[in-house]
């Protein structure tokens, strides 16, 4: 989407303003993901960070990448993470910083990555004006993916398939219930498996009990 001219009364380009808003949203929500005390809110802020990143992709003209980002990261991966949190988190434990136990390792990793990023930004020569904006259509991307890079694409596909099969194999229960045995029979698969573990179901943190 081409944006025209300037922001009224500020004389900025619209692109700059939108970039600032999106980048600020992304960095702020990414920070809230790691410092938040409520793990579900951390997950939701991660959704917001992914969404802002998709907005940045769209702003740079890579609409296909933006749509793929929304489809895969927001629609699938975030939802999977939220699922995992909701099914495994018990709110009985003490409320504390979620990533507290790994703070030192995280700090070292963050400093190293920050140094690498700063170094790469400083060492790259940034062209001030792009000669010709590259318009990437879905067709071009498909031609590259299934033409020049088809071998890498297929290898990644096989790797993902192997990961899926391996995951199912690891998660498979060893004691498959005997259908003829009424004691172990499960009437309706997933529902009763979920209801069968009432202690796990969390919901938000219980409010402070009033005396």
């Amino acid at each position: 989407m081409e944006l025209p001219q300037t922001v009224p009364f500020l004389d900025w380009r619209w692109d700059d303003l939108i970039f600032l808003v999106l980048a600020g949203t992304m960095l702020g929500s990414a920070l809230l993901v790691v410092v938040g005390r409520d793990i579900i809110r951390s997950g939701l802020f991660m959704v917001l960070a992914f969404g802002a990143l998709a907005g940045l992709y769209a702003l740079m003209g890579a609409t296909l990448v933006a749509a793929a980002q929304v489809l895969v990261y927001l629609g699938a991966i975030s939802v999977l993470i939220l699922f995992a949190i909701m099914l495994t988190q018990s709110k009985a434990g003490p409320v504390r910083l979620v990533f507290h136990s790994q703070a030192w390792a995280a700090a070292i990793a963050a400093i190293v990555i920050g140094g690498l990023l700063i170094a790469s930004v400083l060492l790259t020569s940034w062209p001030l004006a792009a000669a010709e904006p590259i318009v990437q259509t879905a067709r071009d991307v498909a031609a590259l993916m299934f033409g020049d890079y088809v071998l890498a694409f297929e290898v990644i596909s096989v790797l993902l398939l192997a990961a899926v099969v391996g995951g199912i194999f690891l998660a498979r229960r060893d004691d498959i219930p005997d259908p003829s045995d009424p004691a172990t029979r499960i009437e309706d698969g997933s529902a009763s498996r979920v209801t069968g573990t009432p202690g796990v179901l969390g919901g938000p943190a219980r409010p402070a009990e009033k005396p």
Partner: protein
């Protein structure tokens, strides 16, 4: 202070909204009068117009967003009315028949009722998440309207990857449902939210895979191009080249919109009202608002992808040409050329025609008084003139005709959704999941392979599609 706060507290909610608005209006009027008296007004208006003109693309975007948000209101009301009336007919009831002709305004009253209800936040909920969840669900379905091609040239934004955008945005509703289920602090809500998310993710897979056949055939993700590829007679619609794909898409769309028989998210006999258990007032209303808008959008997408979108089933132009009517009809009437005759026509024709019709009706129906016949004649005259103008517009402007066909197909599919709710029993959750993973996904994969193989074979024998 109490002198002011006591009457303020006695005001109802509507009064508390209206009173500041009246104050703002009075202030605006005084400002305008002062500006006009001092002669500053023209400069100010010119400055505003210049600013708006310099940012015309942003304006256009805001206008499109506003229109799309507003369109959802009549769409949802229409679907709610169909649901009430059609299910009543299936149940051998009369259904709504008090408000408006044939009860058509009953859904509007339902909407107002939901607005007036108490919006209650239970103790223990995660307030920001609880409040935002309905908005996320609603926006996820409304934002997809941006790429739906309503008629030739009538669409929010002609996106090159419209189909991908549609699936990406509509998948975001899952996040809202999970937010609602989790933040409600209720076991049934959490179960309902997880159930809704599991169901929607499972059915998104066959929904997307079923469309891949069309992408292979048309070679594009642009919805406008997909519709244009189906022009011609109704035999060119993709439903005839992709019957399996159309069936899978429709079944998956039913589950994606959580419509019966796949409405496990709100199975009241099992989990109260699912993720919406703790919601009340308009926040509850927004979930169902979103559901009805979603039903319209899924019908529209089925029409666009498989039933030719805004294409007519038969190309009417050759028939009209054979009858000696040139299409599109030139409706460029020049009122100026008629001179004073126009004035006489406008002044005299309506009373004369109404009078003539009154006489005819009064003579045919002798038991009516002349007043009643005059009223009937007036209504009849307006209907005839209005219908004539509409027909002329439909024949003359191509997007009016396209919109009529598009809405006809979409509403027909919506009625089918309602009929499914009235007739089919709800399935069990394990049947729902098993059906998606064991039947729909393999069938969709088979559909893709068969389509690709057919394209290659037809290309090899020298008759590409």
């Amino acid at each position: 202070m109490t002198a002011l706060s006591r009457p303020w507290n006695r005001l109802s909610l509507a009064g508390k909204i209206i009173l500041p608005l009246v104050a703002v209006l009075i202030a605006l009027n005084i400002t305008l009068v002062v500006l006009w008296m001092s002669g500053l007004l023209p400069f100010l208006v010119q400055a505003i117009l210049d600013t708006l003109g310099a940012n015309i693309a942003i304006l256009r975007f805001l206008l499109a967003a506003t229109i799309i948000l507003l369109i959802t209101v009549p769409v949802a009301f229409m679907n709610i009315f169909f649901e009430m009336k059609l299910i009543a007919f299936v149940n051998l009831r009369i259904g709504p028949n008090r408000i408006g002709p044939w009860g058509t305004l009953a859904s509007v009253i339902h909407g107002l009722k939901v607005l007036a209800k108490e919006d209650f936040t239970p103790r223990g909920v995660d307030v920001p998440v609880f409040t935002l969840a309905p908005a996320v669900v609603y926006l996820a379905s409304v934002m997809t309207l941006l790429v739906v091609p309503f008629a030739p040239g009538l669409h929010g934004y002609d996106m090159d990857i419209g189909l991908l955008y549609f699936f990406a945005i509509s998948g975001l509703g899952v996040v809202g449902l999970m937010m609602a289920g989790w933040s409600s602090f209720n076991k049934y809500s959490l179960l309902g939210g997880l159930r809704a998310a599991a169901g929607m993710i499972s059915y998104e897979l066959p929904l997307i895979l079923a469309v891949m056949g069309i992408v292979l055939l048309s070679g594009t993700l642009n919805l406008n191009t997909i519709v244009q590829n189906q022009s011609g007679s109704f035999l060119d619609w993709y439903i005839f080249q992709q019957p399996l794909g159309a069936l899978i898409f429709f079944i998956a769309a039913t589950a994606e919109g959580s419509r019966p028989p796949f409405d496990l998210t709100e199975a009241d006999s099992e989990i109260v009202a699912g993720f919406a258990t703790e919601y009340s007032g308009m926040r509850f209303g927004f979930f169902f608002f979103a559901e009805y808008v979603n039903m319209f959008i899924l019908s529209a997408m089925t029409a666009v992808l498989f039933l030719g979108g805004w294409n007519a089933p038969l190309d009417l132009a050759p028939i009209a040409n054979a009858l000696g009517i040139a299409t599109p009809i030139d409706i460029a009437l020049d009122p100026g050329s008629m001179g004073p005759g126009l004035l006489w026509l406008v002044l005299l024709a309506p009373p004369l025609i109404v009078g003539g019709l009154t006489a005819v009706i009064w003579m045919l129906k002798s038991d009516w008084s002349i007043i009643v016949s005059a009223i009937v004649a007036f209504v009849l005259f307006n209907l005839l003139v209005g219908g004539g103008v509409m027909l002329l517009l439909a024949m003359g402007i191509d997007w009016v005709m396209g919109l009529v066909w598009f809405l006809g197909k979409t509403i027909g599919l919506s009625l089918f959704f309602v009929l499914m709710r009235a007739t089919l029993p709800r399935v069990r959750i394990d049947q729902l999941m098993g059906f998606a993973w064991k039947w729909l996904v393999p069938a969709a994969l088979v559909n893709i392979f068969v389509t690709a193989a057919a394209i290659v074979v037809l290309h090899e024998i020298g008759r590409p599609l």
